[in-house]
């Protein structure tokens, strides 16, 4: 079990080895999104190679309507 903060909310997951697995669990795996891990952008190409660890802070953003 690891604890993460995702978009400001704490979350406990049984397993999520890397960013891609986390996104898949959140049903965001095939969405148009961008990810920050501890304030650093993780390029899409590295999602599957980037480990998530206890206490990590993750931001997942998308485009919404704006002017």
């Amino acid at each position: 079990m690891i604890r993460l903060t995702v978009n400001g909310e704490s979350m406990q997951l049984f397993s999520a080895n890397n960013v891609q697995e986390l996104l898949d669990k959140l049903h965001l795996g095939n969405q148009r999104i961008a990810v920050e891990l501890n304030s650093e952008i993780i390029p899409r190409s590295l999602h599957a190679k980037t480990r998530v660890r206890e206490g990590d802070r993750i931001e997942i953003v998308r485009a919404i309507g704006g002017g």
Partner: protein, 266 residues
């Protein structure tokens, strides 16, 4: 019968050409269907979006804005709305670049307070400097101060976008003289961003020589947004053609259009 004269007139921003000089936002619409219909009716090719946290644990099939305005069809202009510091704005732009697969054209806006939504010029200048160094093409929302506009151009912003009036106010161009001074000194496109309320406001901006107009509320908050989007498309084209055609000189007194010679009964 009417025959359209082709002007082959294009807006060029950061080396990219656009047929439309109307740029539109995607906020405040009733739903995605209305967003899509209004944007199509506007003829806009550059479309602004905002970046926000995704909803976690909610409906995964929720429609995504980028499915309605696909980056393959539109030039997406991510904004930094509601960023109050240079740091937040830069972070937002970097996330946008990642989201849009390396897309480097951004709309920088760093706000000063939430009542006026006036730009915080010092933070805007700082953000622009960092972003330009980082390879971004910056279209910058700013006040209608001619000196600030010039400074942003000199720093390397690809377009300077002074407000006509506060964001979402619909007051039109409150200080046309400032826009005129900005235009006289500009070597990059000047685009009126914010304040437009009616098609005639947009036409006025274009007649003055602005290279484009960016708007959101004027369309989204109209009674009939899709019809207003169409009206704005025509208004921007109309103003641009009027500018290119060159207006007649102003005179204090009348000049008859009909000849005096050959008057009947003289």
């Amino acid at each position: 019968m009417t025959t359209e004269i082709s002007t082959n007139d294009q807006l060029i921003v950061a080396g990219r050409s656009f047929n439309s000089r109307l740029m539109v936002g995607t906020g405040k619409y009733k739903d995605m269907a209305e967003t899509k219909a209004a944007i199509e009716a506007s003829g806009a090719e550059i479309v602004t979006v905002a970046l926000r946290r995704t909803n976690i644990g909610q409906n995964p099939d929720e429609p995504n804005l980028l499915d309605v305005v696909p980056p393959e069809k539109y030039t997406i202009l991510p904004n930094t709305a509601f960023c109050y510091t240079a740091e937040e704005a830069v972070r937002t732009c970097r996330l946008a670049r990642e989201l849009l697969d390396g897309h480097d054209l951004v709309k920088l806006e760093v706000l000063g307070d939430d009542k006026t939504l006036y730009p915080n010029v010092t933070e805007t200048l700082a953000a622009a400097e960092t972003l330009i160094k980082d390879g971004f093409k910056v279209m910058v929302y700013t006040s209608d101060d001619p000196l600030v506009a010039k400074r942003l151009e000199e720093m390397g912003c690809v377009a300077v976008m002074p407000l006509g009036a506060p964001i979402g106010s619909g007051l039109g161009i409150c200080n046309p003289n400032n826009i005129k001074i900005i235009l006289e000194n500009a070597n990059v496109p000047i685009i009126v961003d914010a304040g437009v309320g009616t098609p005639s406001d947009a036409t006025l901006a274009m007649e003055m020589g602005c290279e484009g107009v960016l708007m959101n509320s004027a369309i989204a908050h109209a009674q009939n947004p899709v019809l207003m989007a169409q009206a704005m498309r025509k208004a921007v084209e109309c103003g641009r053609e009027g500018y290119l055609a060159g207006r007649m000189p102003r005179k204090s007194y009348a000049t008859a259009s009909s000849p005096i010679d050959g008057l009947i009964g003289s």
